[in-house]
């Protein structure tokens, strides 16, 4: 403990409510040792009393302060959204050459004849950059100069549950921290009376794929970095509402009495846990007020509500995108939105017609609104699913769809230090394999961390003997071409 910074962090962890098992604490302290070797980088000193984050100071000046990840859960087809494939259209109905698919993992099409399915929607060029975007997304298309499209994403998991886990935790293994937890652990939060990592969900169309709480779990990181689920309908956060018959004044009186009793006890028993707990009760009480205020959209203008297509009290993608803006405005570090369901094995045309317009509107509104409020520069927006869909069709006729696909899919990145108006990487002519400037999920994570001021290689926590990282043990690197 020669390093004053380490001591500072340690007391801070204690103050901010961390009381860890020995192993975990050792991990954090080991991390401290590492942090001590990092030369000072830019970034203002944290406000007094605030957890400064495990990466303090940051490894380099950050471009983004917060992240909004709009997950199109279920795996949207890249071929009908961001990756135009004219050649595939000419192959429609023909067999996919075996050379393309041999030895590849296949999900529901296992053992079936693999027939090409041409793109089901036209594409148009947009903006000065001329990026081609599907006509399912006219509004997003009109903003093409404001974001980057990655057309060469690859992942390693072909089933939904592990693929989400991989996208969020960097591994298919359960029990690891999600990226929101990593980022909140690394950077802390600037929100005083809200959790630093918030999760919201919406669904539309097809019977949705399940989502597991492991997608926002803190894994081996302390519980306070776990994502907190906000609901746009009903009580916004579990247990945030006073019990029936208990007024706010009554609840305040209870907390004050408990605090007085705890302080009395502290005088005879020097247990720092009691002091920590007093602060947690205070924060809990503040959340009881701040969370309903946050969820109350009555202060938003009619124009804003219409821009997003937000419906107060209804958990739509529009409402959630608006909530996401409100959250980052209040200093929340990581907002994860799950919008289900894009798992179009069948009926892809009908479902896309249903789910694309509100998604297009909400995502476009988010970019416009963040920008006009001066927030886009410091907010990294990521839009995409856990994987893409096969160039081969599944099913027949009107009910045709596409299977899961992991060898090439698309994502959209905007704001927070992303170079706008570019297309990065490409798949082959079939839209099957990413062949140019391949971006692995790990590279996406490294890029996101980079924009937040973190070198992913130096952001580790010792777990089971390993310096565990969000980006795992295989090589990963920030994608330079995506950086502004």
């Amino acid at each position: 403990m020669h390093d004053p910074l380490a001591i500072h962090r340690r007391t801070f962890l204690a103050r901010s409510g961390l009381s860890l098992g020995g192993a975990a604490l050792a991990g954090l302290l080991a991390r401290d040792g590492l942090a001590a070797t990092v030369s000072a980088a830019a970034g203002p000193a944290p406000a007094a009393g605030r957890y400064p984050g495990a990466v303090y100071p940051l490894h380099h000046p950050p471009k983004a302060k917060s992240v909004i990840f709009l997950c199109l859960a279920g795996g949207p087809s890249h071929l009908e959204t961001f990756d135009p494939k004219p050649l595939l259209a000419t192959l429609d109905g023909k067999e996919m050459p075996e050379s393309v698919t041999a030895g590849q993992p296949i999900a529901q099409l296992q053992g079936q004849k693999l027939i090409c399915l041409g793109p089901r929607k036209s594409f148009s060029r947009h903006g000065e950059c001329g990026t081609e975007v599907s006509d399912y997304f006219p509004l997003l298309g009109s903003l093409a100069d404001k974001y980057a499209v990655v057309r060469s994403m690859v992942t390693e998991q072909i089933n939904h549950d592990p693929a989400h886990t991989f996208m969020n935790c960097g591994t298919g293994l359960s029990g690891r921290p999600s990226m929101g937890a990593w980022v909140t652990y690394g950077l802390g939060s600037e929100a005083h009376d809200l959790p630093g990592f918030v999760v919201m969900t919406s669904k539309l169309g097809r019977n949705p794929q399940p989502i597991a709480a492991r997608q926002w779990h803190s894994g081996f990181l302390p519980g306070q970095f776990q994502g907190v689920e906000f609901s746009t309908s009903g009580p916004p956060v579990h247990y945030v509402t006073n019990p029936p018959g208990v007024s706010t004044a009554h609840q305040r009186d209870l907390i004050d009495t408990v605090a007085a009793l705890e302080n009395h006890r502290l005088a005879s028993l020097a247990d720092p846990e009691i002091a920590t707990r007093l602060r947690q009760y205070e924060l809990a009480f503040k959340m009881q007020t701040s969370v309903p205020q946050l969820a109350d959209l009555s202060g938003e203008s009619a124009e804003t509500l219409a821009l997003y297509g937000a419906q107060p009290g209804k958990a739509t993608v529009g409402t959630n995108c608006l909530m996401a803006r409100r959250l980052v405005e209040r200093g929340v570090r990581f907002v994860h939105l799950y919008h289900s369901d894009w798992d179009h094995h069948g009926g892809i045309d009908g479902y896309m017609q249903q789910i694309c317009p509100p998604t297009d509107q909400a995502a476009a509104a988010l970019l416009i609104d963040l920008e006009r409020r001066g927030l886009l520069d410091e907010t990294l927006v990521v839009v995409g699913g856990e994987f893409g869909r096969t160039p081969m069709g599944q099913g027949k006729g009107e009910q045709i769809g596409r299977d899961h696909h992991i060898k090439g899919f698309s994502m959209l990145l905007a704001g927070g230090g992303i170079r706008p108006g570019i297309v990065h990487g490409a798949t082959d002519d079939f839209g099957y394999n990413a062949i140019q400037d391949v971006v692995h999920v790990r590279d996406l994570h490294a890029t996101m961390l980079h924009l937040l001021g973190i070198d992913h290689m130096r952001f580790t926590v010792q777990y089971q003997g390993l310096d565990s990282k969000l980006t795992g043990v295989e090589p990963a690197k920030p994608v330079k071409a995506l950086l502004a």
């Binding site: 529901q108 709480a213 779990h217 519980g223 009495t257 007085a260 809990a284 003997g465």
Partner: protein, 824 residues
């Protein structure tokens, strides 16, 4: 050291670095200078291995596929050999000739070790230690966890009368060495609460408090410990510990996260702790109950119940799954668990490559997996259903261990009724049946009722059944299940630990026996005992003697009291794996009975309490938080075993589950108030009450639970209906059972919850709250009604509603105190 190649550049500055290093070494060797080890000769395991492991082994360790520069540092012979570059990393006695020393003092980023991209940096003290160690001849020692424990005599102590059993001198000896006094004994009430929480997961009742404080027998504490160990509550508390390790949960964990049939296994675990089943038998039954069958005195179903252990992993029947992929995933899951639970090892790290820090090879990984290749569990890939519960063959119907007596009674009575009753005669068509005598009719009704009751005792359980022909297990190169070029492996224990020497293919039973057979007889028993004893110790001191209870490997921590840990392991094994005996020994030591108060100077000197100059203090585990509130208010229903239960849960909490979508059905009967141990464990959405207090999702082996202190936990205690209802029932009890005076009633709340009475300040604070609430609720009948309506427990209508509401509000205060959920 990646670039230790002949082409390596010689750089200016190197000589000066070596000169610096020699100076440092010279100074240290002359006995001057403060090192982390206080000037003692460096001890390989204590001082050197952690440096090499953390900074060097990833590239110069056990993994031969990823070894750089031909250098291997985890093995002395290899470390002393000439390198590819013709240099030698370690020349014993000669740090000045050792390439390792030269390279760690480099300044050139291309040649310095560890390389900058590793993000590891050696401190000056670490560099000095390495030089001193090489100067001393670079002695190696086997990693402590791979050396069988030996019996150590307790160290001599000056205060020979301090201590009550053999544990104490080990602790006192260390404290005397450090010049620290052990803490005073805890006061009797604190000790009573501590040992009751630790052994049963519940606080003592007010009657137990009075009885213990009045017990003047010299060995009153021994009687107390015996009583608690004999309590079924103790078995429940121990089961919760074990269920974390083996990742017991009520749902499949992947995709649809449907419930699966598993709760009878949980009951078997409780029964095993109640009956004090020796840990070796406990092990064999779980890993291989289907292969070994019942032993003397065991019910025929016990091995069947126990064998469900092999079915506890996460499973899936998601459409589009690839059988071979999930075969590999399941195998890895089982390897992580068996090695985590019994070996304290992270063998799972050797799935894709040889372990980076410990001597487990990828082949070892797959050979360990091959033990489980006979488990028949793949039918659900095709026939798993989206029903609740799902289908996971093979399953059996059986009677839970705590229902057996009742089932036998019922069977006997039904049999005798069957024999007494005349056969039912169907009358000819269109004629009314002949009326039967009254007694016969009554017996028929009874029989029908008994049949229904008997049927309800049958529960489904996933069990282990062995395939006649085990599946082939191949070494999967880089863990890639699509690559079938690797060799087929037979079941085997990790190579560096020896071999089983079985005739023919080794089985799960052989593995289980190896884990619990003494080292002298070719097993790993003492290792297993050390891993297990360390975790049992942690239940009673808050942390293990080895802090990394889940990792005894080279990257884990060294034990703080290695000789004591060895002794615990040896005693545990020698006792015939008597779990209650080892626990009794621990909790009757004087060390256990010390005060947990932490004076500032001690806290500054030993913030993590590694020296054990005092007891630990911590917040109760999630189940304990729940159980304590239910116990204090009298709602707790104490019944052993049964199907999992469904306490209040926020509406919509399961909204993201699908296949099928489902509604959480809150229990409306007395299942509502059962212990946390029995709460339905939904892996994807663990009950928020348990989650807020750090209960694990049980997707993986959990050897150490975190203890966070968050606003979410505060919100649960403040607003979760379980705690509102508990406050109301506690208030009802106070109004019904305590005297009429407010002071007496407040004292009652205090005693039920905190086992003590309030002092004058506390009384004044709480009375203020009570009076303010009286005014409020008298004026507001609607608020009164709303508050009292929380929970399904009926309200005592004889009590005045406003008064009860005011007392409910008061009871909330005591239930929200840290002291109520803390163990001191």
């Amino acid at each position: 050291m990646p670039s230790a190649s002949p082409s390596r550049r010689r750089v200016p500055g190197r000589l000066s670095a070596v000169a610096w290093c020699l100076a440092a070494w010279g100074v240290a060797a002359s006995g001057f200078g403060a090192s982390p080890s206080g000037g003692k000769a460096p001890d390989f395991n204590r001082d050197i291995r952690p440096i090499l492991s953390q900074n060097c082994f990833a590239c110069h360790g056990p993994d031969e596929h990823d070894r750089r520069g031909g250098l291997r540092l985890d093995d002395r012979d290899a470390a002393l050999a000439e390198l590819d570059s013709a240099a030698t990393a370690i020349v014993p006695g000669h740090p000045d000739q050792s390439e390792l020393i030269a390279r760690i003092h480099e300044t050139d980023p291309d040649t310095i070790m560890p390389p900058p991209e590793s993000n590891h940096v050696l401190t000056a003290a670490q560099k000095e230690l390495l030089a001193r160690w090489i100067a001393a001849g670079a002695p190696y020692a086997a990693h402590w966890a791979y050396v069988a424990p030996t019996t150590h005599a307790p160290p001599p102590v000056r205060q020979a009368d301090w201590g009550s059993n053999w544990i104490d001198p080990f602790i006192l000896g260390r404290l005397e060495e450090e010049g620290i006094e052990p803490a005073a004994d805890a006061d009797p009430l604190t000790l009573l609460r501590r040992v009751t929480f630790d052994l049963t997961g519940l606080p003592p009742s007010p009657q137990e408090v009075d009885a213990y404080l009045a017990d003047t027998r010299p060995d009153a504490y021994m009687f107390l410990v015996d009583r608690l160990l004999a309590s079924p509550r103790h078995a429940e508390r121990m089961a919760a510990w074990w269920l974390d390790l083996v990742r017991y949960a009520d749902t499949v964990g992947y995709h649809g996260d449907q419930p699966h049939n598993i709760s009878p296994y949980r009951d078997w675990v409780i029964k095993s702790f109640r009956d004090n089943v020796p840990f070796d038998r406990f092990t064999v039954l779980q890993l291989a109950g289907d292969l070994v069958g019942p032993f003397n005195g065991e019910h025929a179903d016990d091995p069947v119940l126990a064998s469900a252990y092999n079915r506890l992993l996460q499973t899936t029947h998601e459409g589009g799954l690839q059988a071979k992929e999930y075969r590999a995933i399941y195998q890895a899951d089982r390897i992580r668990n068996v090695s985590g639970v019994w070996m304290g090892a992270t063998v799972g790290c050797a799935q894709c490559h040889d372990h980076k820090y410990d001597p487990y090879t990828a082949r070892d990984f797959h050979a360990l997996g091959a033990f489980f290749a006979d488990i028949d569990d793949e039918k659900h890939f095709k026939n798993g259903t989206n029903a609740l519960p799902t289908r996971r063959e093979p399953e059996v119907q059986l009677v839970g261990p705590f229902d057996r007596e009742r089932a036998t009674e019922l069977d006997a009575r039904m049999h005798s009724l069957d024999n007494q009753l005349p056969p039912l005669v169907l009358p000819p068509r269109a004629q009314p049946p002949e009326p039967e005598p009254e007694g016969v009719v009554a017996s028929r009704i009874e029989l029908d009722q008994l049949k229904v009751e008997r049927q309800q005792l049958d529960r489904a359980l996933m069990v282990t059944r062995a395939l006649k022909q085990p599946r082939d297990v191949r070494v999967l190169p880089r863990g890639n299940w699509l690559d079938e070029t690797g060799p087929i492996v037979e079941p085997a224990i990790p190579g560096f630990l020896g071999s089983l020497g079985t005739n023919g293919r080794a089985s799960r039973a052989d593995l289980a026996r190896w884990l619990t057979t003494p080292v002298a007889s070719g097993g790993a028993g003492e290792y297993t005992a050390r891993v297990t004893a360390n975790r049992i110790w942690a239940l009673f001191f808050g942390a293990g003697l080895c802090r990394s209870a889940g990792d005894f490997g080279g990257q884990g921590e060294l034990p703080d009291h290695p000789e004591l840990l060895d002794r615990l392991a040896i005693e545990f094994l020698a006792s015939g794996w008597d779990v209650k005996q080892i626990i009794r020994t621990i909790v009757t030591s004087r060390a256990y009975r010390m005060s947990s108060a932490a004076p500032a100077d001690l806290l500054a000197r030993d913030p993590d309490n590694r020296l054990l100059a005092r007891q630990g203090r911590w917040r109760l585990p999630a189940e304990g938080v729940r159980d304590t509130a239910l116990f204090a208010c009298g709602l707790l229903v104490e019944r052993l075993g049964g199907e999992s239960v469904h306490p209040y849960q926020p509406a919509g909490y399961y909204q993201h589950l699908n296949f099928p979508q489902r509604e959480y059905k809150v229990d409306k009967d007395d299942r509502q108030w059962r212990r946390g141990l029995y709460v339905h464990w939904q892996r994807m959405f663990l009950h928020p009450q348990l989650l807020a207090f750090d209960a694990p999702s049980r997707e993986e082996c959990t050897a150490t639970r975190m203890r966070s202190n968050t606003p979410k936990a505060a919100l649960v205690l403040l607003n979760d209906p379980t705690f509102i209802e508990a406050a109301r029932k506690l208030a009802e009890l106070a109004l019904a059972e305590a005297g009429a005076a407010d002071d007496e009633r407040i004292a009652f709340l205090w005693k039920r919850t905190l086992s003590r009475g309030p002092d004058a300040d506390e009384l004044a604070l709480v009375k203020g709250l009570l009076d303010r609430r009286r005014v409020e609720f008298k004026a507001n009948p609607q608020a009164t009604k709303d508050l009292l309506a929380v929970g399904v427990a009926p309200r005592d209508k004889t009590l005045d509603a406003a008064e009860l509401a005011a007392w409910t509000a008061t009871a909330r205060a005591v239930l929200n105190l840290h002291e109520a959920i803390a163990r001191y």
